[in-house]
């Protein structure tokens, strides 16, 4: 068996094997899942170190081949997916609120396998196959993570949003393949498509929708905050924080750089999308009162930076986008893990009920601080460097407005994390949390590992850039100059200013909120204009899914219902009515009366004889 297939096949086989294990066994399922994910991580590392190779199986003749290719970008993705899968499976070992262990690990391994497949697939149809597989497991992951009705509802919401956009992707891929004459991405890249005519623009927009929706960007993000409250922290740390971002941004990069040559308009569209995502999501994040929900809005917001980075279309920006992708996965995964730990130990994620936990949970707190600092772009952690690259790329395009938006986003991010950290880990500890203890080792280990990666990628930013980002850009056929290094230019000072502003804002908020850390953002929340906007957002006026479900879908479904009734009538009621009528007629006819039967028999015989004698008769 080829080495490439191990990260795909092994998790699937293990996941199926998991289903056979009795529910009563302890630790066996967990250990099997950890082993499978660690082994596939090792296999992924091995693949990454080997030179690029291709495995191809004929599938549906020669037109659609099942081709897996490990160019450096794909291998990097594979490695990342393996890493997060291993981390989350270790983390989930003693995580209670994740639903039935069997199904949790089944979904986890399946998601990993399909994500690996999607990352490796060179043929777009094969990629779509894996992509749609992820959709299925996204649904089961959420639906089985809790037994509540809300979990099912959110699962359906996620499924419908992603399903709709996946259909866009399907159509986009079909059109792209039709225009290019091939489904192989590497073949298309030799002769990239341009956006000169309508069909290719249409195809690209559809691919874009598919990609950014997977990444969870505005306006397809609305299921993520719901999932944060209705499913487990493990799920949040794995799928929306890591896997979805990795794949979405990966395919966005593939589509925008590898398959198509974009023009200025499309660049502007992408950057606007990124900036709007950053601001809208971070504004929402700022006022959240729930640990996981706040984090989930940041998961959306950070996607904006990546899209912004890719949208700059210059090497530095793209490098920033990809670097931010892996960094974000690292620290956001870590943050969700801390939220899971707090939830497990303190029993709640409501900010107003938490406080002063640093003393009780020092390791968790430390990891939180590192990851929060990283996400806020505080030097010299990894988030700082990737954001720097994105800023630089943005400035290079000449659209300063996007740079300012990104900086504003950065400011608000830091502000919200100040609020979050303050209200969870510092301040006064409530009475009922006096007994709180540190989370178990199996939960701390992956957290520490990810936090360590944040630090290492920050201090040694050269390392990931040389090892991962630069080869990835080469895989995308981009020539680039020096990407790294600490730029002691005005950008650095600007970031320091942003940090200071955020701290001042936090202090102001504290003062306005009467010293309560969880109310530190209320002065923004209830600011004159924003108040109404937030109120509308809380009524979900901006959530196209909810609006659609409330307004459009009922009317549409009513119309469909009427159409369905009609067809039902045509194929069901009418025939069964007719059959019933004929059957009853027959029952009334067969009265058991002998003369009637005799008359029928004789009449039939006479007609038969007359017809044959006159018609075919004696000719």
């Amino acid at each position: 068996m080829n080495l490439i297939l191990i990260p795909i096949i092994l998790p699937i086989v293990s996941a199926l094997a998991l289903l056979l294990i009795s529910e009563r066994t302890r630790y066996l399922k967990e250990l099997l899942a950890i082993c499978a994910s660690v082994v596939s991580l090792l296999a992924a590392a091995n693949i990454f170190l080997l030179p690029a190779q291709t495995v191809s199986y004929a599938w549906l003749g020669s037109a659609i081949s099942f081709t897996l290719s490990t160019d450096t970008l794909s291998a990097f993705l594979l490695l990342a997916a393996g890493l997060f899968s291993a981390a989350i499976s270790i983390y989930s070992f003693s995580m209670p609120n994740k639903g039935p262990a069997k199904w949790f690990f089944f979904n986890l391994l399946m998601t990993q396998a399909f994500a690996s497949g999607a990352a490796l697939a060179d043929n777009m149809v094969a990629m779509l196959f894996f992509w749609e597989g992820l959709l299925v497991f996204l649904y089961t992951f959420i639906a089985l993570s809790q037994t509540t009705y809300a979990a099912k509802r959110t699962a359906m919401k996620a499924f419908l949003i992603n399903g709709a956009t996946d259909i866009c992707l399907l159509v986009g891929i079909t059109i792209t393949g039709y225009i290019a004459g091939t489904m192989s991405m590497s073949e298309i890249s030799h002769n990239k498509l341009t956006l000169d005519y309508g069909w290719s623009v249409f195809a690209y927009v559809l691919l874009l929708i598919g990609a950014v929706s997977k990444a969870g960007a505005f306006p397809f993000h609305t299921w993520i905050p719901d999932a944060a409250t209705d499913s487990s922290a493990s799920f949040m740390a794995f799928v929306p924080a890591a896997i979805d971002k990795l794949l979405g941004i990966y395919f966005l990069a593939r589509a925008s750089i590898y398959l198509f040559v974009l023009n200025g308009t499309m660049q502007l569209v992408l950057m606007t999308l990124g900036a709007v995502t950053i601001l809208v999501a971070v504004m929402m994040a700022l006022v959240q009162k729930d640990y996981k929900r706040l984090l989930s809005y940041h998961a959306v917001s950070q996607t904006g930076y990546m899209i912004l980075g890719i949208g700059t279309l210059n090497p530095i920006g793209i490098a920033g986008g990809l670097f931010h992708m892996i960094n974000h996965a690292t620290y956001k995964s870590c943050l969700f893990m801390t939220s899971g730990s707090v939830e497990r130990q303190a029993g709640t994620t409501d900010l107003s009920k938490l406080g002063g936990l640093f003393r009780a949970m020092p390791v968790t707190g430390l990891c939180f601080i590192i990851a929060a600092a990283a996400i806020s772009g505080i030097a010299p952690l990894n988030g700082f460097f990737s954001k720097e690259l994105v800023y630089k790329g943005t400035l290079d395009t000449g659209y300063t407005i996007f740079f300012l938006a990104a900086e504003l986003g950065s400011f608000l991010t830091l502000a919200s994390f100040l609020k979050l950290g303050h209200s969870v880990f510092f301040g006064v500890r409530p009475e009922n949390l006096k007994e709180t203890k540190e989370a178990p080792f199996s939960m701390l280990l992956p957290m520490l590992g990810l936090a360590a990666i944040c630090v290492v990628f920050g201090f040694g930013a050269q390392l990931p850039i040389n090892w991962f980002i630069s080869p990835s850009l080469e895989a995308l056929n981009i020539r680039h100059g020096i990407l790294t290094g600490f730029h002691p230019d005005k950008l650095y000072f600007l970031s320091v200013i942003v940090i200071l502003a955020a701290v001042i804002n936090h202090l102001l908020g504290l003062a306005a909120g009467g010293g309560k850390a969880d109310k530190a953002s209320d002065h923004i929340h209830y600011a004159p204009v924003l108040k109404e906007a937030y109120a509308m957002a809380e009524r979900r006026v901006f959530d196209i899914y909810e609006v659609g479900m409330d307004r459009v879908v009922p009317a549409f479904s009513y119309a469909l219902f009427k159409v369905d009734r009609f067809f039902d009538w045509v194929i069901d009621t009418a025939p069964s009515g007719a059959a019933g009528f004929l059957g009853n007629t027959s029952r009334r006819f067969h009265t058991g009366s002998y003369p009637l039967y005799m008359a029928l028999t004789l009449a039939g015989a006479i007609i038969y004889i007359l017809l044959l004698a006159s018609n075919g008769g004696l000719k």
Binding site: A579, Y597, G604, A605
Partner: protein, 476 residues
């Protein structure tokens, strides 16, 4: 008359004559003799048809046209099932027990005569014998419904005999002979066929009445419903098929419908077949009595055979013959199971039955196999025969008939589903509350028949070889 198969007629007759004497002191002897006779005959037939050299030779050495052999086997099989079932079903005190077995054996002998003869008048004679035995068999249990069914059967089908005689008279006059071979040669020649065709049409009409094709079907449900329970299986399974449908198929091949020499008759036959399918299926939809519903379903299934016979192409004849065999198997299962239900619950009213699946699993599941085969669900045998028929219709350009046949096949499925839901699944009713499965000997025939249904379906390619030989021989 086929000399090689004469023994299959004579031995049951002999046995039938012996039974009243043998059973004078010990009534059980009647059961044993009848069963042994039929079992021996069946074993002999199986050896004749299924010995390895015969299979290896592609059935090239079967005696006669092969159809006779096949149908004699079917007659013996159903006869054996019914006698075996009766041996354990029949009430101890029934006074006419030896006569009952004698009549069954005479009816088997008569059916053997029907399928082995090569002459129209002899065919008529045997069919009259068969009819006479059937009337007495129907009234075996002295029930009010039985005598009603028998009387209706008697008076509504005997005018058909007269029609057959008139047809035979005209045939004798215009053909100079009554043998099949002469008719076949005559139809193959170029002589003007008008009077001969008219004579054949009259004979055909007689057999149409006797096989219960709409609009001559009115006696069928009454006779089947009123008949003594195992007899209704005998009647529906084989008697009416041999006494009517067999002759229709035979005439259809002799008249060479595929040549278009008897176009009007062919079209008439197909129309009546389609009418039967439709009326039978629609009437079955609203029935409440298990046996009566099966009777209407039988009318519908006979419609398929008549439709195929009316088409007359080799493929259609093959389908018709195969459907005849299948009909014998699945209708026997269903009627025997209805007898079991009647014995256990005391009723065949579907409104009073329910949830039998739990209390009588064997009966229920064999019934369901037979029902699905009747409705033509793959891979059971009924599917293949219906497929052949519909294919033949489609190939001959009779698209409307093909589509209608398919459609009413779905209606068949619909009423059987309804019936299954009422009787076998669903909630238990008071009548079926304390019901036990019937004893193993009563189940043995239906299990055997169900196995044959499944086997014929699964091993269809092998069986197809045989049926193909038969169809080629009787057509060419």
């Amino acid at each position: 008359m086929d000399k090689g198969l004469l023994a299959y007629l004579l031995i049951p007759l002999l046995s039938a004559v012996i039974i009243p004497f043998a059973a004078r002191t010990r009534p059980k002897m009647a059961d044993i003799l009848a069963n042994v006779t039929l079992l021996a005959g069946l074993a002999n037939l199986l050896w004749l048809a299924l010995r390895p050299s015969m299979i290896a030779g592609g059935f090239a050495d079967i005696p006669g046209d092969g159809l006779s052999l096949l149908l004699v086997a079917a007659v013996y099989l159903v006869g054996l099932c019914v006698t075996f079932f009766s041996a354990y079903f029949i009430e101890e005190g029934l006074p006419n027990r030896p006569a009952y077995y004698s009549l069954l054996l005479v009816s088997v002998a008569a059916m053997t005569g029907v399928v082995t003869t090569t002459d129209f008048f002899t065919l008529y004679v045997f069919i009259e014998v068969l009819a006479v035995t059937s009337f007495a068999l129907i009234t075996t249990d002295d029930s009010s419904a039985g005598i009603e069914g028998a009387l209706k059967y008697f008076f509504l089908t005997f005018p058909a005999s007269v029609l057959i005689i008139v047809g035979i008279a005209i045939l004798m006059m215009t053909l100079g002979s009554l043998s099949y071979e002469n008719l076949r040669l005559f139809m193959a020649s170029d002589a003007p066929a008008g009077p001969v065709t008219f004579a054949s049409a009259l004979i055909m009409l007689g057999f149409i009445v006797k096989s219960g094709v709409v609009p001559f079907h009115t006696w069928t449900p009454d006779a089947y419903q009123g008949a003594y329970a195992p007899v209704s299986a005998h009647l529906a399974g084989i008697v009416t098929k041999i006494s009517g449908v067999y002759a229709i198929i035979k005439l259809a091949t002799l008249l060479r419908f595929f040549d278009g020499r008897a176009q009007a008759l062919s079209e008439m036959l197909m129309f009546l077949g389609m009418l039967s399918i439709a009326v039978g299926a629609l009437a079955a939809l609203k029935q409440t009595n298990f046996k009566r519903m099966l009777a209407f379903s039988s009318i519908s299934q006979i419609g398929y055979i008549v439709l195929a016979a009316g088409l007359g192409t080799p493929l259609a004849i093959m389908g018709a013959v195969f459907h005849l065999i299948n009909h014998a198997t699945f209708k026997t299962v269903l009627f025997l199971n209805s007898a079991s239900l009647e014995k256990s619950t005391g009723t065949t009213d579907m409104d009073k039955l329910g949830g039998m699946e739990h209390s009588m699993p064997w009966t229920s599941w064999t019934s369901i196999v037979a029902l699905l085969s009747t409705a033509g669900v793959p891979p059971l045998s009924g599917f293949w025969s219906k497929l052949l028929i519909i294919l033949a219709l489609w190939e001959s350009g009779l698209r409307v008939y093909a589509v209608l046949a398919l459609l009413f096949s779905i209606v068949t499925l619909a009423y059987f589903m309804m019936m299954q839901k009422k009787v076998f699944f669903g909630k238990k009713t008071p009548a079926s509350e304390r019901v036990q499965e019937v004893s193993a000997p009563l189940l043995a025939p239906v299990v055997l028949m169900s196995a044959i249904i499944v086997a014929l379906g699964l091993l269809f390619p092998y069986f197809y070889a045989y049926v193909k030989v038969v169809a080629e021989r009787i057509i060419l």
